[in-house]
Point group: C2
Chain length 333, copies 2
Amino acid sequence: MPARNRQIHLAARPEAEPAPKHFDLVETSVPDPGPGEILVRNLWMSVDPYMRGRMWDRPSYVPPFQVGEPLEGGAVGEVIGGDGHPAGTLVVHNLGWREYAVVPARHALPIDPDLAPPQTYLGVLGMPGLTAYVGLLDIGGLREGDVVFVSAAAGAVGSLAGQIAKARGHRVIGSAGSPEKVAYVRDELGFDEAFSYRDGPVARSLHQAAPDGIDLYFDNVGGDHLEAALGALRVNGRVTLCGAIAFYNSATATGPRNLGLAIGKRLTLRGFIVSDHQDRREAFLAEVGGLLREGKVAARATVVEGIERAPSAFIGLLSGENTGKMLVRLADQ
Amino acid sequence: MPARNRQIHLAARPEAEPAPKHFDLVETSVPDPGPGEILVRNLWMSVDPYMRGRMWDRPSYVPPFQVGEPLEGGAVGEVIGGDGHPAGTLVVHNLGWREYAVVPARHALPIDPDLAPPQTYLGVLGMPGLTAYVGLLDIGGLREGDVVFVSAAAGAVGSLAGQIAKARGHRVIGSAGSPEKVAYVRDELGFDEAFSYRDGPVARSLHQAAPDGIDLYFDNVGGDHLEAALGALRVNGRVTLCGAIAFYNSATATGPRNLGLAIGKRLTLRGFIVSDHQDRREAFLAEVGGLLREGKVAARATVVEGIERAPSAFIGLLSGENTGKMLVRLADQ
């Protein structure tokens, strides 16, 4: 049995960009699982943009993180004790940010390591993947012939949303934050067009990429992307409101000045939270697992080694240092 | 046969608030109806907020008005010549802003003057009424138990939207622009709560009126109303984007800074144009006609006399001088 566990606590609430001072690395003993619980040795943990929202002390769809308490987030690990899953089982669960986790067995989902490497269940086959799938099909109501625009297209959610749309035969445009990411989005992910939002006004770049307009905007960033998309959307267009990373570090924001266009264009904007849509998991795994097996889904990851680097991985994620899924490797299998 | 017709032309495009100089009163001969056309003597014409949008020279869901050409808008009149409807028939059509109109017979809809006075077909039983009905039920997806908030609640659309919701058993809150209108909304229209948006921040007034939040916001104004509503909406709430009168006189606008709340709250915002929903006219007339017969719908009108006063009626409408439907009486029956 391991003697010591290391985990990351929220040291203080960031008012703007998170910095190292907002995180503490804390050493604890490894807790014992109680009845119905398993002890998991975490192999991989995920850092995701939505976690920034939980650092504010404000009511939201998930309770805020507490100062002095460990953070939480998606993780994949190996069961090493407790009851509910046999030792050796690989599971995905939500108690990352620590090397060892005691997890209620019913909150840990066994994964199939034959289909894909374990960390895939934190990305393409995990929460970001289901988010892309539901956001595109259920929330965005993807229809035949739709031209699709995806922001943060090099990120975990955006890259898959665009690839699902491509696999279904759509014209897909993506935005990202650097020439390298733009090349990745176009050349590796196969988007029809991609541009860097740092190269000029988003509205201009989007118009060049889609001069005849778009039908569905998968919004991961908010801000000027959303405003540009509202301008480019055609009649009966739709916006999937999935993320607003532009404002995660800010308590205030600016809104799209042209939202009034939604009236004449008969637009629908719809927000969602992936946890409401677990009933779509089976259909999602069938479609995206199939694409993965056929080699039709590319997914880069940016990997950081060791739990002590999880805070800097998270800080880097919010400033766009990652390409694809941002992961922290905690241990070898 | 009448010798002369008077009509209102757009003299120049207003850049901000419309003023008398933007309108010309022009005298013409009365045109002759051609094949399939009727000559209508207009009795009532409607001034509606959406007309402001047609004064901008920009692409929209209806073509812009042209400088030097007559304006258009809803009107009720009596057929006095032509073919397609017998002389004496009362019809509703879209060629207002003139005393005599030549209208394609298929664009003129006979009305039933036994159900309600003719001008009712420009308000409760007309385009504003269908807008309220479709916006509340089809676009807003009114559900049992919904708490409903309606802005511009003393206006033609808002007053009916709130009354339909009340008749269906909902708790309804309205905002308006003066103490007199607030009293009208609460005492005559029967809203549960009403407040003046001039009395303080809309967010505060809305919170006082609906401390537990709202489920459906019927938006006729945009601006700070929309922002306040996004703050007050509960999970799975909906916004009917029907109008944005706050910005009709402005080429630019500010957007709701808190639109990101739509993600965690799973909100849907949906814009619409009533002309897409003519298939709902029968159901609308059945329900609202029934309410009208039972005396369950109150509807004030602000009436201005004579076509020469139509421009000032329109200018007054945009600054909120009307209570209920704004009408111009052109002739007696």
